[in-house]
């Protein structure tokens, strides 16, 4: 009879520097069940709306996560704008989208680096993060910060990004492309990478739909869903947008989807910079939401669909702020992906899901 035991994984683990704990029930060398546990660093940010007014809270929303900061800031501002029934000018929506897509590139490059590091390919890790550094430099030169940009506010932007700076962003991205293609070639075609990724942690499309999986994790299993296809804001002006989907549902497919999404983000930025309108950058509006007024949006964060909800109560503070991050939605998929896999593959599978516990512990 097989010997059954429980192995604790995390909350401190070399592969995943985030406080996620898993109880792995194993039989011999195979995982039978995985029970996730989070909540070690829950910050109660949603409760902080009681202390901080709507405008101040924008800075807190941005700090939910250091990788998805731009997305959180855009999502919060858009939800408040819906609640207050105001529309940000076209230029604001374009700049928000450009920054958000840049943030997608930096998030995916960061992830690729971590993946390479996890299977011991250090040179690939350095190359991924060297490319990522260029995106952080774009942030620094246009907004003054490398991670927290603080450019968004309810109703507009704090400052404009000049057309010349936007053209510079496109130039930088164009210059990055050959290096990026070489990097992708190594990730997708190198034997040592493929052996660690092919056929590992497979989730079928049926299971992915059943588990409401989002982002590259879901799209790698054939789920044809990306919030950007709804055409909100500047995405409406794109000539075409098709979600990037793979069908194998394994770690390799997740890597494939993210690699292609970086190129797609570069194309989106180039197209939007070419079309950007000049109708001003809006500005802070002194508006108090009506008691019970609600606003909600979904946006496509680098890790998948994120949901933002705000509810006013007639004061300058919100009655309720809610953010549902992609990782919280993918926890069910995570437990499913780990069932039946070899213990040695657990770190790789967890990494390809790209969990962000910081987002989840808002």
């Amino acid at each position: 009879m097989a010997h059954r035991s429980v192995i604790p994984f995390g909350p401190q683990h070399p592969v995943l520097p985030e406080p996620l704990h898993l109880d792995l029930v194993i039989e011999d060398d195979r995982v039978i069940e995985a029970i996730p546990q989070i909540g070690f660093v829950h910050r109660g940010l949603e409760k902080l709306t009681e202390k901080r007014d709507m405008h101040q809270f924008g800075y807190i929303a941005e700090r939910i996560c250091g990788i998805c900061a731009v997305g959180h800031s855009c999502g919060y501002a858009s939800a408040c704008e819906r609640m207050l029934d105001i529309e940000a000018p076209g230029r604001v929506q374009y700049i928000r989208t450009i920054l958000h897509e840049l943030s997608r590139i930096h998030s995916h490059l960061l992830w690729l680096g971590l993946l390479a590091d996890a299977f011991g390919f250090e040179a690939l890790f350095y190359r991924s993060w060297t490319l990522r550094e260029q995106i952080l430099k774009i942030f620094e030169s246009t907004c003054g910060g490398r991670v927290i940009l603080s450019i968004n506010e309810i109703g507009g932007l704090k400052h404009d990004i000049e057309d010349s700076e936007l053209a510079g962003i496109v130039q930088t991205l164009d210059a990055m492309r050959p290096d990026y293609e070489a990097l992708v070639h190594t990730f997708l075609d190198d034997n040592s990478c493929g052996e660690r990724l092919h056929g590992v942690g497979v989730i079928s499309k049926k299971d992915a739909l059943e588990l409401s999986m989002v982002g590259p994790f879901g799209r790698a299993s054939g789920v044809d869903y990306d919030v950007r296809m709804f055409g909100d804001g500047a995405y409406a002006d794109l000539a075409a947008f098709e979600p990037i989907v793979a069908t194998d549902g394994d770690c390799y497919a997740r890597c494939q989807v993210r690699c292609a999404e970086v190129t797609q983000a570069m194309d989106i930025i180039k197209e939007l910079v070419g079309k950007i309108p000049h109708d001003g950058i809006g500005g802070r509006t002194k508006l108090t939401p009506a008691d019970g007024a609600r606003g909600e949006v979904v946006i496509e964060q680098p890790r998948g669909e994120a949901y933002y909800y705000v509810r006013g109560n007639g004061t300058k503070n919100l009655d309720r702020f809610r953010v549902r991050t992609p990782t919280s939605q993918n926890l069910a998929g995570l437990t499913h992906a780990l069932q039946g896999v070899l213990l040695a593959n657990v770190p790789m599978i967890i990494l390809t899901i790209d969990p962000c516990i910081s987002c989840t512990e808002r």
Binding site: H42, S212, F230, A332
Partner: protein, 233 residues
């Protein structure tokens, strides 16, 4: 463009609505709880998107819908059925509603029994702080004052219109109730102002150190007593 739909459902109807949404292929987006500051009850919001229907609407030049099922007026100890048998991805949110709001959700597929989040205060999101309550009351008083002012302005306008018409006795008959309404409005406004001042003071006291707040309260009570004595004298 996006459109939000809110459908209020009873606790006993929740599962049938969720089953219907699942039947038409709607994606589960999220679930969250809210505390109603006015009556202390809770509200649960379940969000779904029917991606196929959304794409069809967008193709026809329409907007896509975010569908919300809202369960209102929930008591803290009332049992709410879990929807995890239809949408397994809900388990973190149901455990969260239990740990942070103290809501009793039954039959969760993965139930952490109150240990999903490690919190130093039990059910922290269910706590309504004095500051929140005072700010809420202040907002209500401000609204009442604004409404009283609007009533007064309307009454004054009506009186002025009647006087300008110069319709003699008939005009005077119209002006009398208008003037009476104006006097009522002035009284309302004075009361609302006093209430607003009291609410502001209460908000300041709530934010103070408790010992200092007690001293200020005692000083205010003594001043009120002195004023009363002076009036009587």
């Amino acid at each position: 463009m996006q459109e939000a739909i809110y459908t209020i459902v009873g606790i006993d109807e929740l599962l049938s609505h969720v089953q219907a949404l699942k039947g038409v292929g709607a994606r589960f987006v999220q679930m969250h709880a809210e505390r109603n500051v006015d009556d202390g009850s809770y509200r649960l919001v379940y969000t779904f998107i029917n991606v196929r229907a959304a794409q069809e609407h967008i193709a026809q030049g329409g907007s896509y819908a975010i569908e919300n099922l809202v369960v209102e007026g929930i008591d803290q100890y009332q049992e709410i059925p879990s929807i995890s048998s239809y949408y397994p991805a809900v388990f973190p949110f149901e455990n969260e509603a239990h740990d942070l709001f103290g809501l009793a959700i039954t039959d969760m597929q993965i139930d952490f029994k109150g240990f999903f989040y490690q919190v130093s205060t039990a059910e922290p999101m269910s706590v309504i702080t004095p500051e929140v309550k005072a700010a809420r009351e202040k907002a209500m008083k401000v609204r009442a004052a604004a409404e009283a002012k609007a009533r007064k302005t309307a009454a004054e306008k009506a009186a002025a219109a009647a006087a300008a018409a110069g319709e003699g006795a008939a005009g005077a008959a119209v002006a009398q109730p208008a003037a009476a309404a104006g006097s009522d409005a002035q009284h309302d406004e004075a009361a609302a102002k006093a209430a607003l001042k009291a609410a502001e003071m209460e908000a300041k006291l709530a934010a103070m150190d408790p010992e200092k707040a007690a001293k200020v309260r005692a000083a205010l009570a003594a001043k009120a007593a002195r004023d009363k004595q002076k009036k009587e004298a």
